[in-house]
Symmetry: C2
Subunit: 492 residues, 2 copies
Amino acid sequence: MVPDLAPQREVGHRAARPGAGQQPYGVAVTTLATAWVDELAAALGPHGVHTDPDVTASYARDQAMLAEAGTPAAVVLPRDTADVVAVMRVASRHGVPVVPRGAGSGLAGASNAVDGAITMVMTRMDAVLEVSPADRLAVVQPGVVNKALRDAVAGSGLFYPPDPSSYDWCTIGGNLSTNSGGLCCVKYGVTTDYVLGLEVVLADGQVLRTGRRTVKGVAGYDLARLFVGSEGTLGVITEATLALRPAPQKPVTLVATFATTAQTGQVVERVVTTGLVPSLLEVMDNTCIRAVDDLLHADLDRDAHALLVAQSDAGGEAARQDVEALAQLCREAGAQLVHTTEDPAEGDLLLAARRMALPALEQLGTTLIDDVAVPRSRIAAFLDGCDGIAVRRELTIGVVGHAGDGNMHPTICFDPTDPDQRVRAFAAFDDILELGLALGGTVTGEHGIGSLKVEWLEREVGAVSLDVHRRIKDALDPAGLLNPGKVLRRGA
Amino acid sequence: MVPDLAPQREVGHRAARPGAGQQPYGVAVTTLATAWVDELAAALGPHGVHTDPDVTASYARDQAMLAEAGTPAAVVLPRDTADVVAVMRVASRHGVPVVPRGAGSGLAGASNAVDGAITMVMTRMDAVLEVSPADRLAVVQPGVVNKALRDAVAGSGLFYPPDPSSYDWCTIGGNLSTNSGGLCCVKYGVTTDYVLGLEVVLADGQVLRTGRRTVKGVAGYDLARLFVGSEGTLGVITEATLALRPAPQKPVTLVATFATTAQTGQVVERVVTTGLVPSLLEVMDNTCIRAVDDLLHADLDRDAHALLVAQSDAGGEAARQDVEALAQLCREAGAQLVHTTEDPAEGDLLLAARRMALPALEQLGTTLIDDVAVPRSRIAAFLDGCDGIAVRRELTIGVVGHAGDGNMHPTICFDPTDPDQRVRAFAAFDDILELGLALGGTVTGEHGIGSLKVEWLEREVGAVSLDVHRRIKDALDPAGLLNPGKVLRRGA
């Protein structure tokens, strides 16, 4: 089935040029609005549907500067599952594509608008429906902000671990759609590890409930985890039952600096082989150290080649022992400085250097944040490779990453007004992905494929896997209405 | 496509009645053997294909007494992925169904033979291909016995947690296909939590490699976890990359007995709400206690209504504190006896009572082992419900279970030669599933759907989920060749 896109494309085309119009956009859109916009308004009410380009444009993009974005023909803000069903029924009846999105913190363009499509913004469905300490779970709507969930369960002594950097504004629905990670992953895993059950509205408007409230369960296929990480291409998540953990203990923190990446890599490798499980193990390279020191005047060692920050939240003596063992590994690897603290406030300060790495790099220019995960034994090789790319492409590249799980974020700093730098920056972005694959890694550790890395997914997974992806996409969304062009090329 | 089954059905039909034949089976099978058997023999060699009914019958069943089983038309024992590809190509060319299986320890009939089908036995593909301490993973073939993998990684100080009761003879391929659990789940999760990547031969013989060697990765759909737990209905797993953990510390063990199930339930609920994470938390009811005491003469309290066994492997002082906190919860709930030990040998002895529960129940008659997971807050209600079913059906039902994760195994003991008892036993089996669903649970926590619970899956997941299951099955196995009639009804 070929979606009937022509009228919507026209809307998108006009809306994509704010300020260039010959007539007020509101009028233009009203004139062009087709039956399906009226149907949406009838179902969701006038406040649930927007076609004013000033409004729709604000929902056109996530944070992925490299990714293309169209303009939504309409933006809908459902208030409940019934609204989502109504939207999908209208969309499938008229063959209009739908782009689901949360807050738009994504870094791969997964929620970027598609010309002529409906952008479905889930942020109004933001209720924490239940927190059950007895079953150690929460039931939430997709628009709940990650931090709001963390706060909602903290009162019960509980903890929702996945903590992407944008945790104070990204939504759980977005986290589910991209299978988000964060700083916690080295010990606590990623979003999918906390998904017990989902409610999903399918392309045809049917409501699927899958998964469970129980800790274990093997009845049928693991559909919940198929939807997690599928970036809105298979269905729209409208509710999630999430496992929680006991609140962690106060952390003990370590910072160490090194003269070479090889030393840093040795520490990570020995953390793995000695069986230590820190609750956080982050790395910054010299570029990041200097940028952060410039920004925070934190008296960091500006000549250090790499800085490790680690924590243990095992509690009391166990945490002290973990961090002392980490300190010993750092010393054995030849660390220039090793500092530990049991004071959580000082720990927060030390961690602030890591958390400020990206804002600090942004002082150096526009940033392109890449996202590669490599086997943990290859971290030193990856850091060295990024240094080589920076030299070859004559660009500043700061590497910050989750050393404990091998997920690195090389960040290219450049001047976007310089065409030559742009070309080199984009080339360096690809060089980094190439390097990751060559080291046995993946082109995305936690940001997703979105529209940015569709061709890279094809390279990484190969023809057979791509065929299986396509077969599953076609089975669940035969008309190709859900987030077309994301993860997979737009269907033929 | 309708598989060309007639000749194979005939073979199965004959072979299903050993001793009833009018002619020697070997001759009959040879006479009936069709072109595809010759093609299999040409591909796998004469030692890779068996049609002798004495041989094929031995591969006809797993351990699920209630589940129906046909007789394989042929049994193949591939030695490598190329052999599996060859089998699937022959099978798809001729429309012959294929039942993949491991050691046959399953409890739901998932690997039971289908008349006229090829049973593909994966036990010869039993190599541990790699153990990487630096990346904390292992790469294995599916025929590796669970215990062999555990032993293979122990030398590197590593640990593969999933530990089904049959761990000393079940295979990893079977564990993957059913997403096995075990005693470890309360702390360490289930099989799918350890799957990084898979090699899978699809129905048409294509080889899919999916997943990764990295800790994190979100490139594309989570296909690996779609195959895990799909019980051989979507593809044949030929290799797995599995995450490992650091070896656990020596356990500290606790045993406690209670006069009421309510007290036991209270302890479990408080373990959850207080945030304790024991590495093992098992429950046995009075029927099990008495059966074990009869078998082991272990001087157990035969009047106790329930017995809890718990361990912490957190190590040293942390483990002592965990177990003391558990002991305190037991005392507060009114335990009759609380005993703890730091001596691993004594801990093993205490755990032996739990491990011997099923063999002990088998002394009371033929056993039907059920497998229900309920939310942890409903364990006491579930135990009481099972008592009620035992009274109503006038049967002995012993309940043993993984209290820490709510996965219970009520075990019905009966005399199969008594037709009336058989009827009541099968009815009680269903009553228990009904009870589990009524308490918000699932009809299978870790044994799977197999052929035994196909109708129960339909009841549990409902029409929309079933439709999604069917769409995925059809997308990956359009001819319905892989393990037909398992998980889902045989395709229309």
